[in-house]
């Protein structure tokens, strides 16, 4: 044992004698490449759910009709006012704006940038996102300023028996 290191050349039973620092070989060139391959694997696996939901929509399983939902009474909303509601699910917040006597628009108001709630500023005639000052056109839901690039999904509304109802969420292609 004691003379092990005194023989010349001494027996090399491992390759660690030339390591000077802790974890020196943790992230060498090959380790780095392994990490990159692993990252590609993570990307591949995490793409799968997106493909799955897209395929589900393509097969028409996502085209559910939701029951019409009452938003507010007609008299309760003055021209230029906005009402918050939830449609189609209870976590999909939405905004109804009365623009004229007969004119209503409604959008899902999760900002298309990072999903902050967009609100209606009456005297500026704009929908504004508080997070990064994204702005949307009230008439169409199209983004007019700031980071958002995609229009807000529009909700079809219907006036019936003195009340306003949400009918369905419009598709972009339509």
């Amino acid at each position: 044992m004691t003379d092990k290191n005194n023989r010349i050349p001494f027996d090399e039973d491992n390759y660690t004698h030339n390591i000077n620092r802790d974890n020196e070989r943790k992230l060498d060139r090959r380790g780095f490449m392994k990490t990159l391959v692993g990252a590609a694997g993570v990307f591949a696996v995490s793409s799968l759910p997106w493909g799955a939901v897209a395929a589900k929509e393509l097969l028409g399983l996502g085209n559910k009709e939701y029951p019409h939902q009452k938003i507010a009474d007609l008299n309760a909303v003055a021209i230029g006012d906005a009402v918050e509601f939830h449609f189609p699910g209870e976590h999909d917040s939405a905004l109804l704006i009365r623009l004229g006597d007969e004119k209503f628009v409604a959008y899902q108001n999760a900002c298309t940038h990072l999903r902050c709630p967009v609100f209606w500023v009456k005297d500026k005639n704009e929908m504004i996102c508080p997070c990064h000052h994204g702005k949307f056109d009230v008439e169409t839901g199209a983004p007019t300023a700031g980071p958002p690039r995609r229009p807000l999904p529009e909700i079809e509304v219907e006036v019936k028996d003195g009340a306003i109802f949400a009918v369905r969420v419009k598709r972009y292609e339509a």
Partner: protein, 62 residues
């Protein structure tokens, strides 16, 4: 030991493409272009075996 950084560069390029494809995939999903989402998903998945082949080729040469 002679080092070859071509494979490292290739893998970095693959990682970049992964990021780009993922970005497109998510955006196309929200734009409701579901076919495009599927295309970018496939591209992302195909990149994994390619990355693995690059790595294997590098090992064989070493």
């Amino acid at each position: 030991m002679k080092r070859n950084y071509i494979s490292v560069a290739l893998l970095c390029g693959i990682l970049l493409l992964n990021i780009v494809f993922t970005q497109f995939m998510v955006h196309q999903y929200f734009y409701e272009n579901y076919v495009n989402t599927l295309i970018f998903m496939s591209l992302n998945i195909i990149l994994f075996p390619i990355a693995w082949l690059v790595y294997k080729r590098d090992r064989r040469k070493a």
